[in-house]
Amino acid sequence: MFKMILKIALLSLFRRLSRTVSVVLMISVSLWGLLFMEGLYEGMMEQMINNAIRSDCGEISVFAKGYRLEMDIKNLITDPDGVEGFLKSDPRIRSYVKRLEHQGLAATAHYSRGVAFYAIDSKAEQQQGRLHEYIEAGDFTFGTKGKGVIIGAELAKKLKVKIGRKIIISAQATDDEIASMALKVTGIIRTNNMGLDDGAVFLDLATFSDLLQVSGGVSRFAFFVQDPELIEGVQESMQARFPDLEVFRWDQLYPALMQSRVMMKWFNLVTAFLVFSAAAIGIIGVMLVSVLERIREFGIMTAIGTEFRQVAGVVLVESLLIGLAGYLVGSLLGGFTLWHFKEKGLDLTMFSEAFNAFGMDAITYAIIRPDYFITPFAAILIAAILSALLPLRILYKANPIKAIGEI
């Protein structure tokens, strides 16, 4: 029986080929558009967030109390070893880094500039973060004696230094005296985070803390957890364990990013809704007319004894076939496009100035996720079924004899 229904449905679809194709095309184009936008925008979003998290704050950052308001070198984390022990022992924590941050001066024979110092452990940072991926020249290392620096690309330009050149750094130590030392440029980095590229100097943690006379001093711990779901839980347990430290999640340090992410999700939802409304309209329109056109046919079928159930089946199957075809074509197109941009990235370097100003990369990589395809499938299914309902109602109400008499 089903085979017959299927045959009839297919036949009637093919009879009005251009009409069928139009609807299928409409659904697939809108699905393709939706997938493209979703994947691209989400890709952009995640990149932005990752840039911030991986090069700066991790998923959770820990400071001494009040440090964020007054970044004073005299207000460092009081028990860094204790914190480190906790981070090592808790299985929820995937990786961590410790940093010492301070302001001061970087100078060459020609220029001097105020800079922000980030004293880090290069090996740990390589494991956890993405900083090393942004190296433009040189290496992500401070040399064998820890006497190297990695500076932001724009800063390097202003100071007119290259790899191997000397930089004199000065900063106020804890004894209020100004301490200076000579270091060699071992790497130049471009993170697309303007603040860093313009004014950051990365150097070896031990070297810097000795210079400032705070051996072993740490101003921030930044770490990642095994799963983003765990972030809040870990934050709570850590804050409880170390009440005189401040523990922040990344979205508390960069609330703008979280807001952008939320806004993007909303935007996708609205677009998806619009697209599917249009799809539904298209299917309803077609199905309605298609059924009304063949009311004579259906009338005859009923008259010779076909049950309404089976007639309804034809209509339903037609509707589903259209929807399914649209979904398949659209998913293939969209999936392929997304895959292409996932691998190759969308090159928008002509807008690079704008991107850099907002901390984004000019080449955006799309994201593909299973639920991009699952939601549309469900939606189209529902749209197809619902679209069949009105015509079915009309059929149900119709009187077979009158129907046959229709033209």
Binding site: Q103, G104, L105, A107, T108, A109, H110, S112, G114, K147, R165, K166, I168, S170, A171, Q172, D176, E177, I178, S180, M181, A182
Partner: protein, 249 residues
Amino acid sequence: MKHYLLTILCLLFIFVDHCPAEEMDIDTLMQQVEEALNGKTAQMNLTMRVKTSRLERTIKMESYSVGKDKSFIKITYPRKDTGVTFLKIDNAMWQYVPRIERVIKIPASMMLQSWMGSDFTNDDLVRESSIADDYHCKLIEKGDEYLVELIPKEDAPVVWGKLLMWISKEHLIPTKVRYFDEENQPVRVLFYNEFKKFGDKMYPSKWVMENETIEKKGNQTIMEITEAVFDQPVADHYFTKRALKQFSQ
């Protein structure tokens, strides 16, 4: 024969006495140069002229210093800047501005800014890196003057790539110092001219710093020492923060 040798030896000794530097090694030479330049103590009246393409400014000051570690400067001209005092102890620097009646400690970020608009930076006045501590010295030429090449030591916190110093054989004081960046481009040159006698000491009374970079070519700062007394004891009370305000008048 023996007499002949003896005469020659005596002559040699005489020569040695008159030209001691001939036999001295470079490090001792440089040590003497530094001592001669700084003196154990110094009290000076100076006039500084700053010339840029746009204007020319004259400042007069009194300066008191003990070695390189402590110095006190008071501006005496022009009227607008009279009473401004500077105190340097080791690496730190303070200044007092009578117009606002405050003592300000100069932060790291301002250390490399020009001092009073001249071609000298705050850092030049404060740090005056020690030749012995920070540089390897190599004697290059021994013509009319010594030409010494100074290469910064590996860890020395000096921005220069190298220095070339011409030293007067007679006075063991530099006559010219040229500062190079790491690409071997000259950045600035300092002339020590017009040697005069101050008390017992022969000392350059005119220091001229010229900027050799493309951007600031032609800029000059000229320091003239109008009076100087060397190696007399200088009262300790000059080198306190109280002194900044006290001696402003």
